[in-house]
Amino acid sequence: MALLEVRDLTVVFERKGEEPFTAVDGVNFDVEPGQTVGLVGESGCGKSVTSLAIMGLLPKRGARITGSVVYDGTELLKLSDRQMRDRRGRDLGMVFQDPLSSLNPVIPIGLQVTEVLERHRGMPRKEAMVEAKDLLDKVGIPDPNRRLSEYPHQLSGGMRQRALIAIALACRPKLLIADEPTTALDVTIQAQILSLMKELVQDLGTALVMITHDLGVVAGLCDEVNVLYGGKVVEKAMRHELFAKPRHPYTHGLLASIPRLDAPRGEKLTPIKGSVADNIPWEQGCAFAPRCPNALEVCTSVTPAEEDQLGRLLRCHNPVVPGTPAAEEVPV
């Protein structure tokens, strides 16, 4: 059985004086124990809201969450706040994008790590401090004894992110959700953090949900990749399949629009035309249709269904035939 089963997860935000906004629209995915699953998409595609909904971190007022999130046999969406608090940090760990704003600026790093250990594992403070030191050591923070008594602002961005990973992994959760953990970091630091996460996840057997906008990060890390667009999963496949033969025009277009380090120079990029602002609602067809080079008439009238095609899920009326180059589009 899957460790995490997300079924038909929908998050609708109520807005004063405006139409409600559907940020996540019927998202399904499974995470097997020890597996790394990627959620990829551009800003506004609902990837972060999905993670917040799973963790129960969305405001009670204003956000309407439907569907189901089953973790190890328990329905998370039905848990009370108190029950959820017992799980968060113990069974489910989370690493956020900006390490400075997710650490408490007025509490030393050491206390922020021991807090989790005391709360969930009932350790006395002294014992927890020793464990915290080991944790900081494990995530590669040099001189952990001194770092325990320091404040977040005294650490560099990369070190802060390491501290945050130490906190998230303090109770050896079975599932770790990482929301753009390296976006705020420089490339060389990003490489350090990614290799650290890969190592820890393998050592501890933790399942990882990796949320990112960077297809490069996904290519090196994830087993299965979900590509989100406009709040829906438009394509889901194992990473080798997905990158070798992208079928959804959005995935295909995304890959064609990234300058690649190993590509010959002078090759022109093929951008996706328009921007997310051009989307049409899913009820009227495919949200991507106005930007899609493959759009047919049916795309603006019938919502494409999620279809299983040889182990990959695809939501498209007119998928890309493998091997075709990206359509040359004049930017609007």
Binding site: F13, E42, S43, G44, K47, V49, L52, P59, G62, A63, Q97, G140, P142, H153, Q154, S156, G157, T183, A184, D186, V187, T188, I189, A191, Q192, S195, H213, L215, G216, V217, V218, A219, G220, R239, H240, F243, A244, G253, L254, L255, A256, S257, I258, P259, R260, L261, D262, A263, R265, E267, K268, L269, T270, P271, I272, K273, S275, V276, A277, P331
Partner: protein, 368 residues
Amino acid sequence: MSETLVSVEDMKVHFPIKRGVFLDRTVGYVYAVDGVDLEIKRGETYGLVGESGCGKSTLGRAMLRLNEPTNGRMVFDGTDVSSLKGEELRRMRRRMQMVFQDPLSSLDPRQSVESILVEGLRAHDLDKSKEQTGKRLRELLSAVGLPSTALRKYPHEFSGGQRQRIGIARALALEPDLIVADEPVSALDVSVQAQVVNLLQELQDQFGLTFLVIAHDLAVVKHISDRVGVMYLGGLVEEATADDLYAEPLHPYTRALLSAIPVPDPQVEDRRERILLAGDLPSPANPPSGCRFHTRCPWRQASKCDTDRPVLREIKPGHKVACHWAEDIEAGVIKPHEVAPILIEETDTMSPDVPLVGPASVTEALNP
């Protein structure tokens, strides 16, 4: 084509660190740019890459004298810009324009697009008659791919990519020779990035512009630049044509940087060798002695590295590198070794170079 448009000689920008309430004692300097020489030829795109805090943006700004350089000269088309003052400098600026990273904060929210574009024309007396200006504005907008109806709109009515197009149109309005683009695409989504990258290339072909593109994304820089300079802690460590730099990086830092960039291809990702650098970037207020990179360098040698600062020297035609041991490293005589990370005291907060992609909060997600 090979005519030099810009040459920078021994450029230094040091920012004083002040302490005290009444007497502003200077307690030290941040060596943001510390001795850079570079040349940009007319019609080429020069890419400047490096991580946050390496001084690449400061160098770009100092070249336009938006920051006053502490030392060094910048010669632009035969004129020494660093000695110009007042009106002369102002007139010179028409020929050097800048495109900024964040298109929203670099456009006045209360100015319409028309007024944003006309402002520069007025300042340089290019706003002769109404018809002529109107024609020029429509030309500009069509050059950057915006409809002429955009003139009456305000920056908030556009998407990120379109705003960056307005910023580019503003830079183009004065028919400059040089455009300095500081992280022109890093605030944009990937699918939109490609649009702006292509636009920059088209404009260069169309108007024969010279670009200095400053970015942290080596893949983007490699894609659009003819030559690339890699910066580390205030100095250039390597300079080569884009293809050479990728094919045979000579400086250890460039090697590490190239190997750290994720490639969206699982087959490449599984095979490639990573050079992981230990620790963080040292503080530019207290740079390491000798070679700035020696504290993190896996190829560091016992002599020279921590005492002599290597100069940028040409070891192959068109390929310059600032490393004492570049030849030996390339020949494989020196093998990489383990490096223990060194504690870096963090003084400042987050770097402004790295964009935070994605909505920062639920409210932002609701009102993009």
